[in-house]
Symmetry: D2
C-alpha cells in the first residue's frame, strides 16, 4: 500500500490556455498542491523541515498528460509517498477529473535534503528517519 | 519630462487565456518587467536597494485595460518615474502593442521603503535622495 | 448592505517571493478566486455569461496592500457586488488574514460586456438585468 | 548534429521563491520559451501549426535540476529537435547560467498532433513531413 492523500484543486480561469485547456505547466503546481497537502497531513511539510534546519528543493519532476482539464473542472490530486533507500523524498502523483473519474495526468517528483548552508545531506535527517519508522517505512534506515 | 525606459516584452503562450488574449493579471508582471528594466538602467533596481539594507515592497498597483494583446504580439512597456515628495517610489506605465503602436494599457505602482526589520521608513534613504538629486529631481529633499 | 461572498484561499509555496511574502501580483489572482466564487454562488460566473453569448473582460483593476501574507497563511477574500448604473460589473474586495483577522489588502475590479464578435455592449444583457432585479438591485434598469 | 536554438531568458523577480531561487515550476515556462524560439526560428511554431489546422498539445514533460538560478541571472535555454519516427514532436533542453556557463537544468518535452476536432493524428501532417525533409531529417517519412 503506502501513504496517500487526495487533494481537490479547482481549475482557475487563469490556469487555462488559448486551447481552452489547463496549460501543461500548471500541473507542476497541482503536484505541489498535492505534496503540500500530504506534508500537512503527515507532518512533513516544507515548514516542518525548514524549522529543523533543512531545505528540500526539487531535483526532478516529470508529468505525463492523458486527458485535458477545463475551466470549471476540479482536479483530484492523489499523492503517494514513494519509499526509497537514498537520501531523497519521492512522490508519485495521479490526477483525476473529479466529475468523470478519469485519469488526466500522472507524474513524480524527487527532493533532496540541504542544510541551511545549502550543502547536500547524504543521509536522512534524524527527524525524517523517525517519521519513516513511525509510518512503517524501514527502507534505508539500517545504516 | 521625466526619466523613462521602453522595454519590449514578448507575449508568452502561457500568458494568454481562453479568450485568446493576455490574462489581465499578467500586466502586473509586465509592469514589473518595465520597473526592473528602469531600475537596472538607472541604478535603482531591487538589488541596489537590498544591498544597502532596504526592501521596497509594492503598496499600491492599478491597471486600466484599453485593448487586448495576443500570443505572438510584443508589448512595449513605457515606465516613467513619477516624482513625489513622500517617502515612496511611484511609476507610471503605458503599454503599447509594438506592431500597431496602439496603447493597450496604462497603470501605476507605488512602493515604500522598509529596513531589513520590515520597519517603514518615513524619509528617503540617503542613497535614493542622492539618486534623485543627480537626476534633477529635487522634490521632497528639503527636509 | 449588498451581495457578498467570503472565499478562503490557501497561500501556495509558489505564491511567495524572495522577501518571504506573497508576491503582489498574486492578489489579482485572489481577487479572481473571490469573483469566481461569487459568480458560482449567485449564478453569474464566467460560463453563465459565455453560454448566453457574452464575454466579460476586465477593464480596470486596482489593489492596495496593507499587510503581508506568508506561506502557510490562508487568505479570506470578501467579494462585494458594487452596484452601478453603467453597463459594467464592478466588485470590491477585502482580503483578510484568516488567522489574525487583519485586513491585508483591498481592491476593486470592473468588467464590461462584449458579444462574441468582441463588440462592446452599451446596455446590460437582459439576463443580467433580470439577475439584478431578482437581487433587489434596480440601478440602471429604468431604460 | 541537429537543429538547435539558444534563447536567453532573464529571471524575473516573481520567478524566485522564498528560498531565493527560481521556483522549479518556472523551468517548464523556460522550456516553452526555448521551444517557441525554436519554432519561430525554424518555421514550426504553435501558430504555424494552428493556421494549418493542427493543435500540438504537450503529452510529456520532464526536468532535472542541477544548480539554482537566482534573481538577476539570465538563463540560456538550448533547445534541440529530437528526431523520432512516431507522429510526435520531441525536444531536449539544456539550461545554462549565462554568467557561469554551468548547466542548471536539463529536460525534454513531447507533443502530439491533433486536428481541430481534437482527434489524434497517427502520422505526420504533410507540412511537418516536408519540414523534416528540408532539414535533412528523414526518420519516419517512409510511410
Amino acid at each position: 500500500m503506502g501513504l496517500m492523500t487526495r487533494t481537490p484543486v479547482r481549475v482557475r480561469f487563469s490556469d487555462v490556455d488559448s486551447m481552452g485547456i489547463v496549460w501543461h505547466g500548471q500541473y507542476i503546481r497541482y503536484f505541489e498542491d498535492g505534496r503540500e497537502d500530504f506534508g500537512n497531513t503527515h507532518g512533513i511539510n516544507y515548514l516542518d523541515f525548514h524549522s529543523r534546519g533543512y531545505l528540500i528543493p526539487i531535483v526532478k519532476v516529470g508529468c505525463d498528460y492523458k486527458r485535458p482539464l477545463r475551466y470549471g473542472d476540479t482536479a483530484i490530486v492523489e499523492t503517494r509517498f514513494a519509499d526509497t533507500e537514498s537520501a531523497k523524498i519521492s512522490y508519485e502523483y495521479t490526477i483525476y477529473n473529479e466529475k468523470t473519474g478519469e485519469v488526466v495526468a500522472t507524474g513524480s517528483s524527487t527532493q533532496v535534503f540541504l542544510n541551511l548552508n545549502h550543502e547536500l545531506l547524504l543521509a536522512f535527517p534524524l527527524f525524517f528517519a523517525e517519521w519513516k519508522k513511525k509510518n512503517g517505512l524501514m527502507t534505508g534506515l539500517t545504516t
